[in-house]
């Protein structure tokens, strides 16, 4: 857990990117409890990403996407903005950790994450009486793979042949999306919501 604290620090700094006390000698980044919370969640997501990289995959790109469980929980509990922070910080810090920042792999993760978040922005408004994290997860998983295939087609492999791989990726998205959604639902049922300041309740003088 020692290593994860460094990342926690890094992410805290990235998220708490507003400065109040700027004199010539010291540069102080003030962070709120909410920053720390986002950082902690992003660090957990990062841990899951690392864990996942140890799982062998039959085909490059077919991954369970365990880190998205964290995104789903954050979305359900702290809203879309916090989910965006956690998801994008995880992509950024993960790319620094794996050494593929600004490499193709980074842009694949980024496009997948951005597409998922856009879809989640709509999916979160589905009536919660009928739709739970499993639905969110499935829609996000499809959006994720769609975003990635778009980048692959437009940039990396502009060949129609990649269409043959789409059914495999779509099946994986459906299966892993369902499983991740179930894990998130189960986790939220068993753990009560911790009392953490929410974004909406922050003072207005903090830029967002």
């Amino acid at each position: 857990m020692r290593g994860s604290q460094h990342f926690l620090l890094l992410i805290t700094l990235l998220h708490g990117s507003y400065m109040r006390d700027m004199d010539t000698r010291s540069l102080l980044l003030e962070t709120t409890a909410e920053d720390h919370h986002v950082a902690r969640m992003a660090a957990v997501a990062l841990g899951l990403t690392i864990l996942e990289s140890a799982i062998p995959s039959p085909l490059p790109g077919v991954k369970p996407g365990l880190a998205n469980i964290v995104t789903l929980i954050v979305l359900a509990r702290y809203g879309w903005r916090a989910a965006v922070w956690v998801s994008l910080l995880r992509v950024l810090a993960g790319s620094l950790l794996f050494g593929n920042f600004l490499a193709p792999g980074f842009f694949l993760s980024l496009s997948g994450a951005v597409c998922s978040l856009v879809v989640l922005a709509f999916a979160q408004h589905l009536p919660s009486r009928w739709f739970g994290p499993v639905s969110h997860s499935i829609y996000a998983a499809f959006a994720h793979i769609a975003g990635q295939m778009l980048v692959v087609y437009l940039w990396l492999i502009p060949h129609a042949g990649i269409a043959y791989l789409i059914p495999i990726f779509a099946t994986a998205a459906l299966v892993f999306g369902t499983v991740n959604g179930l894990i998130a639902a189960r986790f939220m049922e068993e753990t009560p919501t911790p009392s953490i300041p929410q974004l909406d309740k922050l003072p207005d003088n903090i830029p967002r």
Partner: protein
């Protein structure tokens, strides 16, 4: 575990799952419905040497400038079984099954192209 999974699935989640499943099945049918080939077009020296149906298993010997290329057809698939070309690219390409697939033995000027009910391309340039 199965029971618990059921508890977390709300009616809308079932709907999503079902729609997702249908989507994946349609996608697979659409994208993997490769036209199966009906016949093989064998060319030698740029001219059509023979057109054979894939329904009958057979071996065809095609003469070329370097020697004889042997094409074998089996189980609705075709391959170049042997060829005198030095690098053996067309032999190593293995079995052809989908319409539009092609194996070229350039040194011996022999090619096999599979064709289906409809042609995907008018011509291919390399």
């Amino acid at each position: 575990m199965y029971k618990q999974a059921m508890l977390h699935l709300k009616p809308g989640d079932w709907l999503t799952l079902m729609l997702g499943g249908i989507f994946v099945v349609l996608l697979t049918l659409k994208l993997w419905n490769g036209d199966l080939a009906d016949k093989a077009i064998i060319r030698s020296g740029g001219k059509i040497f023979k057109e054979v149906a894939l329904s009958r298993d057979q071996q065809i010997e095609v003469p070329g400038p370097l020697g004889t290329t042997i094409i074998s057809i089996q189980n609705r698939k075709a391959r170049i079984a042997s060829d005198p070309s030095p690098r053996q690219y067309c032999v190593r390409q293995g079995w052809l099954q989908q319409a539009g697939e092609i194996a070229l033995c350039l040194p011996n000027q022999v090619s096999v192209e599979l064709a289906g009910s409809r042609k995907k391309y008018d011509s291919l340039n390399y």
